[in-house]
């Protein structure tokens, strides 16, 4: 006999289901007055530092149909590469930037949309800088365990080329699934990040 390791097991995941919005965005499903506003709708305010950007996209199933019942969360560093989190030990992040956002995908179009700032660079575990990125987390009916991925920026080609995480992806074509294309909307840069759950363009998802 040896001594016993007494670690607990992580609680297993279950799907968020079709009614996830009742718990996360009750005002969006007309359950109003329980709390003031749904969390995560606004990331930036008038005093937030950094370049304003829009981030938008859709999540496609294996037949190319956008999910109109999903929930998307983003988590990112501020313009200087610091996170608004007690676990951030490198400095104090911009107090006017939440860094976390959450949106249901649109009931008809399946689109999600965040107004945020372009994040600064954050070091990898060995200290090399990663390219600017936004962590994306997706739950929905039919997804048994939440999906983690990352949005990178098409206009950061040099940083992307040396990003230690992007370079972990064996096939260059698959790296491209994480790069949001840049456009413009109402004077703001808009980055479109379409997520493909299956198929030739299946997005790279992470086991973080």
């Amino acid at each position: 006999m040896v001594q016993r390791l007494d670690y607990l097991k992580e609680s297993p995941s279950q799907t968020a289901g079709p009614y996830v919005h009742i718990g996360t965005n009750p005002n969006w499903v007309e359950i109003t007055g329980v709390w003031n506003g749904d969390l995560g709708l606004v990331l930036v305010g008038p005093d937030t530092k950094g370049e304003r950007i829009l981030v938008t996209g859709r999540i496609f199933d294996g037949l190319g149909k956008p999910l109109n019942d999903a929930l998307v969360e983003i988590w990112q560093a501020d313009a200087d590469g610091l996170h608004n989190s007690p676990e951030e030990k490198r400095g104090r992040a911009d107090p006017h930037f939440a860094g976390w956002g959450r949106q249901p995908t649109h009931r008809e179009t399946g689109e999600f949309r965040f107004e945020t700032v372009k994040p600064g660079r954050v070091p990898y575990v060995d200290g090399r800088p990663m390219a600017p990125h936004i962590t994306v987390y997706i739950v929905a009916r039919g997804i048994n365990i939440g999906l983690h991925t990352r949005l990178y920026f098409a206009d950061e080609a040099a940083a992307n080329a040396e990003c230690p995480v992007l370079n972990r992806i064996e096939h260059p074509a698959r790296r491209e699934t994480l790069v949001a294309r840049r456009g413009e909307e109402g004077g703001l840069p808009v980055y479109t990040f379409d997520v493909h759950l299956q198929g030739h363009h299946e997005t790279v998802f992470f086991d973080v």
């Binding site: 992580e10 279950q14 709390w35 490198r90 299956q198």
Partner: protein, 242 residues
Amino acid sequence: MSDHKGSYFQRDRDWHPPAYTPDYKTSVLRAPRQALLSLDNTISEMTGPVFGHDVLGPRDDDLITNWAKTGDAIGQRIVVHGRVLDENGRGLPGVLLEFWQANAGGRYRHHKETYHAALDPNFGGCGRAITAQDGSYRFRTIKPGAYPWPNRVNDWRPAHIHFSVFGHAFAQRLVTQMYFEGDPMIWQCPIVGTIPDKRAVEQLIAALDRQNTTHMDALAYKFDIVLRGRRSTLFENRMEGN
């Protein structure tokens, strides 16, 4: 070795449901088919949003009254309580829990709901809590009903409460469901059945807790939630080394 200090334990993907589970039909077109990219925890995943008590309203932890219009919600009154722990067995303070559920008849207040059971005009179905210093939480609600759902023609969900959990790091983010001790329908449900190991399912079944009932008010169920644990070496050391 300094690369890995303080990172989170690798997620046991054999304990969680896999993505592709054909008995739960919606997963067939929504399950990624490629291997996940395994990634050492970086600062992007080892940090996460934290929510203060200022986000909570006074009745977020009482679903019996938080959407009441003319009186209390109808149904078996229950208290759900427990602790949020990590895999090291430590209570985790400051964890935001969001929960949602059907009413006592099994009906959700949602535009996509098609079940015939009646809406309860006094029941919304959402609540929130933030764990105390020892990881404990508590809320009051009514026991949700079972409901049929479009999968195979005669599939019913066992009574359950959905939970969304924010730990201290985005790597700990978890969405799951709580079931009730003694419910035979747990073992007939294709969504429960996505979890391969019976012991893992049992981890989601709340125990009837007669020691914590509220006199002449509510039964109690105890439900502990475990989030990923973390290597014991301090994160700060790693940063000093950089």
